[in-house]
Amino acid sequence: MFAFVAAARPARPGFWSIRGPMSQRTYWVLAALGLIVPLAAWWVLSAQGWVSKVFLPGPVDVFHRALTWSMQDKPLADTSISVYRVTVGWLLSAVLAIPLGLLIGTLRPVQAVLEPLTDFIRYMPAVAFIPLVMLWIGIDEGSKIAIIFIGTFFQMVLMVAEDVRRVPATRIEAAQTMGATRGEIVELVLLPAAKPALLDTLRITMGWAWTYLVVAELVAANSGLGYAILKAQRFLQTDKIFAGIIIIGMIGLLIDQLFRWLHRKSFPWMHLKR
């Protein structure tokens, strides 16, 4: 009798067990809490009037401001010019960084010449280049794109090189023992093997490009989300600053989900349900 009682039920891993199991429902409930609780805290904090609205406008104020902004001004124009700057700067980075990173990750002489240099430059703050960029490129669109480019390019080169280096050697060697030439190995093995990691690198660096937007729009801009935020600061329109930041966050979230969707569509073999 006693033995039956002792073996009644195997212990289920607890809620806080390391990498423990969790149902989909629990996950989404917790994820929703993670969003709602800070929002509610924000609302309570501002509604109680403990903090002046100049420093912390409530969510309702921010929402209203976003609405009136969309009536009076042209936030869509601001948004689209910002999206344009980020995309062009980031695309320019990608177009140059992918072939360069591929070479660094594939050929040791190229790695020796370029990697230490890139490592050196990537630690330089992009903001510090603003005076130089203004001097060299001027104050029109090119300079804003250049700042975003400087902020993302050097990191991207190193990440692409690492993505290519992570391709297991046996995948390359298997092709070699089938008689593949160097060019064929790059085209038929290295690139397709690194592609999923490359898309992740593009997704992550796109996020960084957005973080450089406000900095880039410090440079004699008269449009853009970053510019709108800076202008709002000048007029103490804290609610508009909040609205601008939230719009940038929303755009980022949207782009991130787009990249993840593209990843699932392009590399179905990586997203198999087992």
């Binding site: 297991p168 060697e173 092709a175 023992t177 593949a180």
Partner: protein, 278 residues
């Protein structure tokens, strides 16, 4: 003679910090022979295989395959690895046909040639027991199935030499037995020359017509044994006196040359100390 090495040596690193991986290797492998290389870790068996495959280079002596000195890898010497060699973005049949994307195999231009090639891919798919998974991705397959695909892909361009670097090392014992009989069956069909590296003595004897025992520090050939078993092997041969005697002999040689013996002596001394303390 398919493969011949004379006084082959390999030194890793630059002076003064060098490691002699291989020293004075004289190895001859005949046409259509199945030779297994066995030895303790650090004996250079994989390095020797990689030099034959042209993936590593030797630093002294000569090596020739089919009478031609080895200069880099080539389509005549295919290699099967233990891990991660399949292309996960290609399905099974695309992996097997991978060699057809390469320039070396573009000589065939007529539609008849293409038909022959896809006939061969289908035949390999059948021989390796894979017809039901032709459209599957490699990471949907078990380790054993993945190695079947890797072997089929290596055989596809009809290499003269098949080099296998512990191909079944990561598989469980039951799957490994199945793979042994499968590779022997393929060997009888294809009549390629196979050089097979393993650290499993039983595997080396069961598969090989000759077993080459290597010793470490520096990597060298210690002894070569002819396997006294019929060409057609069956699992129950593993329990015959001839098989067991050869296994005992080879395991003894590996222990003798690998420093394992001194470890055992140390263990005995340690246990002796404990007994005295009691």
């Amino acid at each position: 003679m398919k493969i011949r090495t004379r006084k082959l040596g390999k030194i890793f690193g630059a002076a003064p910090r060098t490691v002699t991986a291989l020293e004075q290797i004289d190895l001859e492998v005949f046409d259509n022979e199945f030779v297994t290389l066995v030895g303790a870790s650090g004996c250079g068996k994989s390095t020797l295989l990689r030099i034959i495959g042209g993936l590593d280079y030797h630093t002294s002596g000569d090596i020739a395959v089919s009478g031609k000195p080895v200069k880099g890898s080539g389509a005549d010497r295919a290699m099967v690895f233990q891990h991660y060699s399949l292309y996960p973005w290609l399905n099974v049949i695309q992996n097997i046909k991978f060699c057809r994307r390469l320039k070396v195999n573009r000589r065939e231009l007529t539609s008849a040639d293409v038909e022959v090639a896809s006939g061969r891919a289908d035949a390999l798919l059948n021989v390796m027991g894979l017809p039901n998974v032709a459209d599957a991705w490699p990471n949907q397959l078990s380790g054993g199935m993945q190695q079947r695909v890797a072997i089929a892909r290596a055989l596809m361009p009809r290499p003269e030499v098949l080099l296998m670097d512990e191909p079944f090392g990561a598989l469980d014992a039951q799957t490994r037995e199945v793979m042994h009989d499968l590779i022997l069956h393929v060997f009888n069909l294809e009549r390629a020359t196979i050089v097979f590296v393993t650290h499993d003595v039983e595997e080396a004897i069961y598969l090989g017509q000759r077993v080459v025992v290597m010793a470490p520090h520096p990597g060298r050939i210690d002894s070569v044994y002819d396997v006294p078993l019929p060409v057609r092997r069956t699992q129950d041969m593993k329990h015959t006196p001839a098989f067991l005697a050869l296994k005992r002999e080879i395991v003894g040689r590996i222990r003798e040359t690998s420093g394992m013996k001194t470890d055992l002596e140390m263990l005995e001394r340690l246990s002796g100390v404990e007994e005295r303390e009691e």
